[in-house]
């Protein structure tokens, strides 16, 4: 008798040649994606390292190998000053954002502060907004001459001069700090909410008071989360370009990012020196991120259980109104007055710091936003379509990569999976402007330069790990056996991916997609290095107006961008939980 036991409907046991084993769907897809990711991530970094050792001669035509760039890095007074400024701004921002983030998280997660459920989404809004736009708004609110708040103070209280001034290093710290507060907030509130309340209860039963328990139990348990948040803020603010560019550069405060910018596109552009500055910034941020990921993140004990707990709520008594006031103050300075100020400024033909109702006009919108109107300034309005295209296409491609990469990290074993894990860490460790510098030097001679694709490449390389983390967190919770049982049911790798894996990951994929969509819509520091005439983005448009036109037009486009981003926040909250934001 024959032993071909297969049912007739299914062709089995086709003899395989040994090499056919090398070309499985899984292997082709994962190899292809790993190569793409590896090239996209590593190539610009290699170029950056190599070109930082190329020295441009005085005429700017020829290069030779040498350490001159690095000598200049330490010798040049301006760069040295920029270095010190960057450290001061990052430290100041970290302190401010950590203070605000931890207190707001504690108020929202652990106290009986009134209306805290309704305040929560507002606390997160700055996360979605552009800090550059925040800087523009605060410039119009609190610059010495044209600041709305200063003018109000002068006319109401008859004060001479000004009460507030954000056009300096403290202004940069203030704006960056309030905009990066949600980063700390998200880390800490997650940790506070996931903490098993019995940990605190058992401390209370040993006779420890409320304050002792908070200091000896709660705080140490949350410390890793606070440190993680603080490091992320430090690194992000070191790489922030828009805020120092708006509030620092015109007033003599340079940072490493603004210096990289001038070396990339300015009149005395020197890509090789720019590469050296980028290297020094990248090494600092990379080191910090490495510490956060490998040393601090594994110590977040409270996140281990992953169970939903009902945390202990502390009764603040009368102080709950102070807590409410504090939270409202934050939302006020980070969300409301900046947006209102932009709206007011955008209605004036020229902005002199005073509200003049008779002069209200929509001409600024016609010039800066309505791309169909004949007065439209193309350098500004081009960005709207370009950014939407980049965000839609970029987020989709990035999430596709993220799915395969997460699959490899969590579902395959061996070297490849560990290497990919590291590869995904690299872009997070390097500020956008550093990566963009590498991308610029790498691809400036290729046809993709001066197209939207070079921007797309920069965006995806820098930010796809954020999407990947969204997917990974779900993939870790989903048993591998769900995939395996589909294979056993006779489905190929591709069919399994399509019918089982992706549907199960849907919430993570959506959350990641919208997060990337938002990030791409407001992206400035990569765009500013890689754009050319015709490939402006929304934020580049704002930059252009701020630099070459006037404040009211800038405000009009800024407001339009902010409203677009706000709409995304609403969609995001519908689809994803707050956990999805923690990058």
């Amino acid at each position: 008798m024959t032993t071909e036991a297969a049912p007739p409907e299914f062709d089995l046991h086709t003899p395989q040649k040994w090499w056919q084993g090398l070309f499985t769907q899984e292997r082709i897809a994962t190899t292809f994606v790993s190569l793409v990711v590896a090239i996209a991530v590593i190539l610009p970094l290699i170029t950056l390292v190599v070109s930082s050792f190329l020295v441009l001669d005085d005429l700017g035509f020829d290069t030779e190998w040498g350490l001159e760039n690095y000598r200049e890095l330490f010798g040049d007074r301006l760069i040295r000053k920029a270095f010190v400024n960057t450290l001061m701004i990052s430290s100041g921002t970290t302190i401010l954002a950590t203070f605000l983030g931890v207190s707001l998280a504690w108020i929202n997660a652990r106290t009986n502060c009134p209306w805290r459920e309704s305040l929560e989404p507002f606390n997160l809004i700055p996360f979605f907004m552009s800090p550059f736009v925040g800087a523009i708004a605060w410039h119009n609110l609190a610059s010495p001459k044209v600041g709305l708040l200063n003018n109000l103070a002068r006319s109401l209280f008859g004060i001479e001069g000004h009460i507030l001034n954000v056009d300096n290093i403290y202004g940069i710290i203030w704006v960056t700090g309030i905009f990066f507060t949600p980063l700390v907030y998200l880390f800490v509130i997650g940790s506070l909410r996931r903490m098993d309340p019995s940990l605190e209860d058992s401390a209370r039963t040993t006779g420890a008071g409320l304050i002792t328990t908070t200091m000896r139990i709660t705080l140490p348990l949350v410390t890793p989360a606070i440190l993680s948040g603080a490091i992320i803020v430090f690194v992000t603010s070191a790489g922030e370009f828009g805020v120092p560019f708006k509030l620092g550069t015109p007033y003599g405060v340079e940072t490493l990012t603004t210096q990289i910018f001038t070396k990339a596109v300015g009149d005395d552009a020197n890509h090789y020196l720019g590469a050296a500055i980028s290297m020094s910034l990248g090494i600092i941020t990379g080191l910090f991120i490495w510490i956060q990921r490998r040393v601090i993140a594994p110590r977040e004990y409270t996140t281990v259980t992953g169970k939903g707990f009902r945390p202990n709520i502390i009764d603040l008594g009368k102080w709950k109104w102070a807590a409410l006031g504090f939270n409202l103050f934050y939302i006020f300075v980070a969300v409301f007055i900046p947006l209102i100020c932009l709206f007011i400024v955008s209605l004036h033909p020229v902005w002199e710091g005073r509200i003049i109702v008779e002069d209200f006009t929509i001409i600024n919108y016609q010039k800066a936003v309505f791309w169909w109107s004949p007065e439209a300034i193309e350098s500004a309005t081009n960005g709207i379509g370009n950014s939407i295209f980049l965000a839609l296409t970029g987020a989709t491609i990035a999430m596709f990569l993220a799915i395969i990469v997460s699959y490899m990290i969590h579902r395959t074993k061996g070297m490849g999976s560990r290497l990919l894990d590291y590869l995904c860490l690299i872009p997070i460790g390097f500020p956008g402007i550093v990566l963009a510098m590498g991308v610029l030097i790498t691809y400036i001679q290729t046809p993709i330069y001066a197209t939207l694709w070079i921007l797309m490449l920069g965006y995806i390389t820098r930010f796809f790990p954020y999407g990947q983390r969204n997917i990974s967190s779900i993939m870790m919770a989903v048993s591998e056996e769900l995939d395996q049982s589909s294979r056993m049911a006779g489905a190929t790798w591709m069919t399994t991916l399509w019918r089982i894996t992706i549907p199960l990951l849907k919430p993570g994929i959506f959350a990641g997609w919208i997060l990337l969509f938002v990030i791409f819509l407001r992206e400035l520091s990569i765009s500013i290095i890689l754009y050319t005439a015709g490939t402006e983005t929304l934020s580049v448009g704002v930059y252009y107006l701020s630099n070459f036109e006037n404040e009211p037009m800038t405000a009009a486009l800024s407001l339009a961008q902010s409203l677009l981003l706000l709409a995304c926040v609403v969609v995001f909250r519908r689809i994803a939980g707050r956990e999805a934001l923690t990058a």
Binding site: M1, H13, W18
Partner: protein
């Protein structure tokens, strides 16, 4: 291909080796299963039983060895053959059941049929037939997330057998159920397997499960096979100290074979705390006079009596009694050794009492160390 070429065996594993890093998880094991039989791989966690199962399924690629099903080679490192898991036509029930939460119960069960592009009306018929077979009629139309543990189990089984696979694999399918349900599902699984007659390989660490369900049991440890045999043989004639200890409860005491007879009997010399005894026993496989061995005897074959019995006996003290309703678990200290004794409650042994321990020679076995 002829049945004779496969020696009447349906599934054949030859010299299977699988490394995890430097760890030899499966260390060159070989076994075979006749068509329609139920084989259990039994052993503690980390013994390589699940790894072996995954290799059969094709979810792991062995480092060397050959796997043949029904005469067709699924994996052969020598011939460089590795059939993708989806091409093996194997049904598998996973430890977590792996019921897809985004599908209904029927969609879960009909998935393998859909993948095989069977027409819709036949799918419906076959799904309903299977649903009746596993007793899930009440759950038709429900979401997979609404299922209880036992129902998930049944769904997983239904999905594994719906396309009448050539081989059925179980990876500790009962370990997540509570005791009562587990005992019921054992019988149920065995019934269904018997009804459809699919050759099955079952992995478990639960010896009771293995004894109840299997036609044949393979006891594994550290990546190799300790013993192969029917449930009765494994229990009554463990090949060595490891198996004896792993299956059921056994008194194990070191000794030396003093004398052997032709009828498979022997005498074993046991020295304990200065006392030297010669005890009659059955001779286990691979032992001869002068060999070091272990005496293995189940608690139910150890008797504690108040009066000195005829033949060899050991005087000791009852140090613990645990009343379990139908029997009395006792510990009797003799020299440095504690005998586990299963006594009848009527005997009313008391702690501190002095007794004589006698072994049932027909159920006392000398095994390899």
């Amino acid at each position: 291909m002829n049945q004779s070429e496969t020696n009447g065996q349906y599934l054949e594993i030859n010299n299977l080796v699988k490394y995890f890093g430097d760890d030899r998880a499966v260390d060159g094991i070989s076994f075979s299963v006749p068509e329609g039989k139920f084989l259990t791989l039994l052993g503690p966690s980390g013994c390589g039983k699940t790894t072996t199962l995954m290799c059969i399924a094709g979810l792991l690629k062995p480092d060397s060895g050959e796997i043949t099903v029904g005469g067709a080679s699924f994996t052969s490192t020598e011939k460089k053959i590795f059939l993708a898991p989806e091409k093996r036509d194997i049904g598998m029930v996973f430890q977590s059941y792996a019921i897809w939460p985004h599908m209904t119960v029927e969609k879960n069960i009909s998935y393998p049929l859909e993948i095989r592009k069977i027409n819709a009306s036949e799918i419906d018929d076959r799904v309903m037939e299977i649903i009746r077979l596993v007793g899930l009629e009440d759950m038709v139309g429900k979401d997979a997330t609404q299922l209880s543990g036992g129902q998930q189990q049944r769904t997983a089984l239904a999905r594994a057998i719906v396309c009448r696979p050539s081989l059925l694999l179980f990876d500790e399918p009962l370990s997540n159920l509570d005791l009562k349900l587990r005992e019921r599902m054992r019988i149920e699984l065995k019934r269904i397997q018997h009804e459809i007659g699919i050759t099955s390989v079952y992995v478990t660490h639960d010896q009771a499960e293995a004894l109840v369900m299997s036609d044949e049991i393979i006891v594994m440890s550290k990546g190799h096979i300790e013993q192969t045999g029917g449930p009765h043989a494994i229990y009554a004639r463990p090949a060595n100290r490891y198996v004896s200890n792993f299956i059921g409860i056994a008194n194990l005491i070191a000794g030396k074979i003093a004398r052997t007879t032709d009828s498979g009997r022997a005498e074993i010399e046991v020295v304990q705390g200065g006392e030297r005894l010669i005890l009659p026993c059955l001779l286990g496989e691979g032992l001869k006079t002068g060999d070091d061995a272990f005496l293995s005897v189940r608690p139910e074959n150890v008797h504690a009596v108040r009066e000195r019995p005829e033949g060899p006996s050991m005087e000791g003290e009852v140090i613990q009694t645990v009343f379990l309703g139908n029997h009395l678990d006792c510990r009797v200290r003799w020299q440095d050794f504690e005998w586990k004794v299963q006594a009848h409650p009527r005997e009313r042994l008391r702690e501190g009492e002095s007794v004589f321990v006698r072994l049932d020679a027909d159920h006392t076995l000398a095994v390899q160390p």
